[in-house]
């Protein structure tokens, strides 16, 4: 490769063409101070602090934007450079308040640091008037523009990384400042409070509001965010065993220096007053704090008794898509070896089992095929049944970046107008629940117009003929009739997707949480297979996950039909490997899935349940009924950080430690295995989940001899080595072949049929859609205990379209009853223009208004995922005095 050689401070160094002087200097170990430069942002040369001099021409160059040229003789610290640089910094200081003593940025201020490094004392220049502080009421961000140095890091972060564009420079000259559109407070703007700008601001202009600590902490621990499935790397700043601040990790390949509002400002649930600090045992209907000794003794005795009286199959374990991989491994071993049952499942059953089963049987992987970088490089991105901007912000940012700056064409398929709609080249609005028909329609167009990748189909797939036969009936007209999407739009989407050399499909719970979720996933996989987009290195399929370790919990075998790394329990050979290692015989029958456990409990067949970090009394459909069933169990143990709605029903509650208090790994939706590091000691007497499981196993007389999380992973690697051929060289991303069904790099077309869903009727004329909001997650057990998230967004709401609202005679803020055949809720109305007529929307994750209560229990026949995305409801206005 061609190189360019320059002289840098008297030394010859070489770089590649196009490199800036600053980049080469940093690479060569020469320090040039900067204020407006960040490797994730487009350099703009705004602050001029990085000035250097070219000795040949005498020119002063901003090194962050000046590319190297052969023969340059660059001085970075000659007296001329230093004079200029000092003057520039002094000019900044002359318009900067002298409030350093009381400024929250303290010694983290980069301007102060640079001034100090250059020995700048008092500034002799005339003072320039400063901007006033902006009055805002949001609990996340504080703007004091008197300290703004106009470096535009916040502006570029907002536009280039997060692609929200809430702020830009406003006005000119001395009046210039970053401002929102119409100069409104952030809470009235597009700002999502992701905190990326705060993390980048070099001065005290942007700071965290309602902060726990003002100074600089001694300890910073890099770990993985515990909220959604993206798995952003975060830095926990710790002061006196207290997590006082969370910032994005700059070098993470997932979040690239960004975060979302939950990651930045939601982690204070760690120190919530509600944290359980002692084991609780219910005596006569009241919880009493007891010792670990007593609590574990009781649990062990009761589980043993139930096992003795009713057999192992009367016990069940519900594990956690929030706990670490190692803890999930221990939990499934506990269920299988100690309790002796395969009745073990995890919370991802509620939202992503369809991905596992659907993708497993078609492409042979249990989830996402490629990583976020690949997604960002795609030519076409089809987002269907997902609102990643809210549910998986880091993925949302990547999609927006691709669409806005990298020329990717976005096809959005969603009945709701989500934020991505404004980035979409094509937005299809199918009727709710008709995605399978639409996907088949797209496949048919691709087939009919010969846009398929024949070579890839011939070499890497089978069952193509059956697939084609099945498509015959899905003519454009037929698909239009079912989905309501105009035929030309269907054809356009098909062509756009098929003609791109790298086309990605991103989907979420809008596919998987239907009764036909598995079919939907297979239909998407078929599209990818048809066009050669299912393989790594091009396009790909991205199955978004709702929770931090949904992928990992499944990989670790917290499933009723799989041992770790998708070894089938029915396969005696696979079982034998584990049996030999663990010295027990393992049950070979498929166990019960989450919802089946509850059903069997209702029939009295399940007597004892051990729930770790899940909250079925809120998260399961018909949650009112679920709570009743759980309350009626002979024995219920709940292990959690909080006294959740489920924990309140338990006989024994075991206090678990948060993610910040333990070691291990989470696997994000890409399949990236990332470290979770301990930042603080467990609160009170709480213990990490893994530790509790180990202690419990010991009390039950079947100790599991692991002394560290690493040991657990080493054992797994020994028992089921990861196959080299899964296609991922980086050790970070690990993917197991699913159930040994398919050969390497081979896939199978799975013909799927559209099954009409129940229609709305006179009694229940509205279709209710559910989804997440940016500010909360899961059942809200953590986010509702994060003080700032709760303050900003505490009330559930029901979104109703303008037309429907008028018909119902309701106004914004009115209270209405939302009534399904199963239950009813009361909620305030938000009028919106994002919904098609006859459709209303309610967010999940508000514990006081659990929308899951409205759903009846109906399961996907293959994945056993309950339908939780759409149901039929009636809306009744509550008369103010009635």
């Amino acid at each position: 490769m061609q190189t360019v050689t320059i002289t840098l401070d008297g030394r010859e160094v070489s770089g590649y063409p196009g490199m800036t002087i600053l980049e080469l200097a940093r690479e060569s170990g020469v320090n040039i101070p900067t204020l407006c430069h960040d490797p994730h942002l487009t350099p703009i040369g705004a602050c001029r602090v990085c000035l250097v001099e070219d000795e040949r021409t005498g020119a002063m160059l901003a090194s962050c934007v000046a590319p190297i040229a052969a023969g340059m003789v660059i001085n970075t610290n000659s007296s001329r450079v230093m004079d200029h640089r000092k003057n520039i910094v002094k000019l900044m200081l002359s318009s900067h308040p002298d409030s350093c003593l009381v400024c929250d940025k303290g010694n983290r201020c980069e301007l102060r640091q640079i001034a100090a490094d250059m020995g700048i004392g008092l500034v002799e220049f005339q003072r320039i008037p400063q901007m006033a502080t902006i009055q805002e009421v949001n609990p996340f961000l504080e703007r004091d523009l008197s300290k703004c140095i106009l470096c535009a890091k916040c502006i570029r972060a907002c536009q280039e990384l997060v692609v929200e564009g809430a702020i830009d420079y406003f006005q000119r000259g001395f009046g210039t400042r970053p401002a929102t559109w119409n100069n409104v407070p952030l809470e009235n703007s597009e700002c999502t409070f992701c905190g990326t700008c705060v993390a980048l601001c070099p001065t005290g202009a942007l700071t965290e509001r309602e902060k726990l600590y003002r100074g600089t902490t001694k300890t910073t621990v890099e770990t993985t965010c515990p909220f959604c499935g993206c798995g952003c790397s975060i830095c926990l700043e710790v002061k006196d065993d207290y997590v006082v601040r969370v910032t994005p990790a700059k070098d993470s390949p997932v979040n690239k220096g960004t975060l979302c509002v939950k990651g930045s400002y939601g982690c204070d649930f760690i120190h919530s007053q509600d944290r359980l600090t002692k084991p609780l045992v219910k005596y006569n209907g009241n919880f009493e704090a007891v010792s670990w000794e007593e609590a574990l003794g009781l649990v062990a005795a009761r589980f043993k008794k139930i096992k003795g009286e009713y057999g192992s199959s009367s016990l069940a374990v519900l594990g956690s898509s929030k706990c670490t991989n190692e803890e999930n491994y221990l939990l499934q071993r506990f269920a299988r070896c100690v309790l002796g049952t395969n009745n073990v499942d995890n919370g991802s059953r509620l939202y992503s089992s369809a991905s596992r089963v659907g993708l497993g049987s078609s492409i042979g992987f249990s989830g996402t095929t490629n990583d976020l970088d690949d997604l960002e490089q795609s030519e076409v991105i089809m987002v269907i049944g997902a609102d990643p901007v809210s549910s998986a912000p880091a993925a949302g940012y990547a999609i927006k970046r691709a669409a806005k700056y990298k020329g990717a064409k976005l096809i959005l398929i969603d009945p709701r107008r989500t934020k991505l709609a404004s980035f979409a080249q094509l937005w299809l609005r199918p009727k709710v629940g008709t995605d399978v028909a639409l996907m088949n329609g797209l496949a048919k167009v691709i087939l009919d117009e010969g846009l398929l990748d024949e070579e890839s189909i011939a070499r890497r797939t089978d069952n193509f003929e059956a697939f084609c036969r099945n498509l015959e009936m899905y003519s454009l007209e037929y698909v239009k009739e079912i989905t309501g999407v105009p035929t030309e739009e269907i054809a356009m989407a098909a062509r756009l997707y098929a003609k791109a050399s790298r086309a990605a499909i991103v989907y979420g719970t809008g596919i998987t949480q239907y009764m036909t979720g598995t079919e939907g996933v297979k239909a998407l996989a078929n599209l990818a297979l048809l066009t050669g987009n299912s393989r790594h290195g091009g396009g790909g399929i991205y199955a978004l996950q709702r929770e931090n370790n949904a992928q990992g919990a499944c990989d670790m075998g917290t499933l009723p039909d799989f041992l770790p790394r998708y070894q089938r329990v029915a396969d005696s050979g696979a079982r034998r490997k584990f049996e030999q290692r663990w010295g027990v015989s393992l049950p070979g029958d498929r166990g019960l899935t989450a919802l089946e456990i509850v059903e069997q409990a209702r029939e009295g067949k399940i007597k004892g349940v051990y729930i770790v970090g899940e909250n079925p009394a809120l998260s399961f459909p018909d949650s009112g009924l679920i709570a009743e069933i759980l309350a009626s169990l002979d024995f219920l143990v709940v292990q959690d950080m909080f006294l959740t709605e489920t924990a309140r029903l338990a006989n024994v509650v075991l206090p678990a430690a948060s993610f910040a208090e333990k070691e291990g790994t989470f696997t994000n939706f890409e399949g990236r295995v990332q470290k979770v590091r301990k930042a603080i000691e467990p609160l009170g007497e709480s213990l990490p989940d893994g530790e509790i499981i180990l202690r419990l196993a010991e009390r039950m007389g079947a100790p599991m001899p692991y002394s560290s999380p690493q040991q657990v992973m080493e054992e797994l690697d020994e028992l089921v080595p990861l196959r080299e051929d899964v296609g991922y060289a980086e050790s970070e991303r690990r993917r197991s072949i699913y159930g040994g069904q398919l050969l390497k790099d081979f896939a199978r077309f799975c013909p799927v049929e559209y099954v009409p869903q129940a229609r709305t009727n006179g009694d229940y004329p509205f279709t209710l859609l559910t989804g997440v909001t940016l500010f909360h997650l899961g059942t809200g057990s953590r986010t509702s205990r994060a003080s700032r998230l709760r303050k900003f967004s505490s009330q559930a709401f029901v979104e109703i379209g303008e037309f429907d609202a008028e018909k119902l005679g309701v106004n914004h803020g009115d209270k209405v009853k939302v009534i399904s055949p199963v239950a009813e809720l009361t909620s305030a109305v938000t009028i919106t223009d994002t919904l098609p007529q006859g459709t209303v929307f309610m967010p999940l994750s508000f514990p006081d208004n659990p929308v899951t209560r409205l759903f009846s229990i109906s399961l996907d026949p293959e994945a056993k995922t309950p339908s939780l995305k759409a149901c039929h409801v009636r809306i009744e206005r509550i008369e103010p005095n009635g």
Binding site: Q159, E164, G165, A166, I167, D168, Y169, F170, Q171, R172, A179, T180, W181, N182, E190, K404, S422
Partner: protein, 160 residues
């Protein structure tokens, strides 16, 4: 009030038509803003999101450009823009008094517009015809050698 509303809506309709011609052309932001201002007289803030989505920018970015250039306005301007010169020559020859008198006659402070949209009052640093100082410009026409009487006549005449 209703008339103003109707006029604003008519403006938006026209702006939509203009914007449609420039869709997806990021380079076209400034020509587009200029054209809207030429036709509508100003750039209504409500039109910023429409402009932004047409040229693939964020509303905050379009606002940034509008607020940067002195030639672009976000409020309606009078049919007659009065520019009173405050250049050195005009100042020496009594420009300050002329400005005071104009303010009295039209009842405006600098940068303001009459409610009936007849006049907008501005000052400029120099218009380059110092020989005629003190000067004012109304619309495209320069009025030189201004004195109190001429100011009175000028605004009586065109003010009706």
């Amino acid at each position: 009030m209703d008339e103003v509303k109707i006029a604003a809506e008519a403006d938006l309709t026209r702006i939509n038509e203009i914007v449609a011609e420039y869709s997806e052309e990021k380079w076209a932001l400034i020509p587009l803003l200029q054209r809207i201002q030429n036709e509508v007289g100003y750039i209504p803030p409500q039109s910023v999101p429409i402009i932004a989505s047409a040229v693939g920018l964020f509303p905050s970015q379009v606002q940034g450009v509008i607020s940067f250039y002195a030639q672009l306005y976000t409020e309606p301007r009078g049919r007659n823009v009065i520019r009173v010169c405050r250049g050195t020559a005009c100042h020496v020859r009594g420009g300050k008094t002329i400005l005071k008198l104009v303010k009295q006659h039209v009842g405006l402070e600098e940068g303001e517009t009459t409610p009936d949209l007849e006049y907008t009052l501005e000052t400029v640093a120099c218009i380059g015809v110092c020989a005629l100082a003190p000067n004012i410009v109304v619309g495209d026409r320069v009025y030189g050698h201004m004195n109190p009487k001429k100011v009175e006549q000028l605004f009586k005449k065109s003010g009706g």
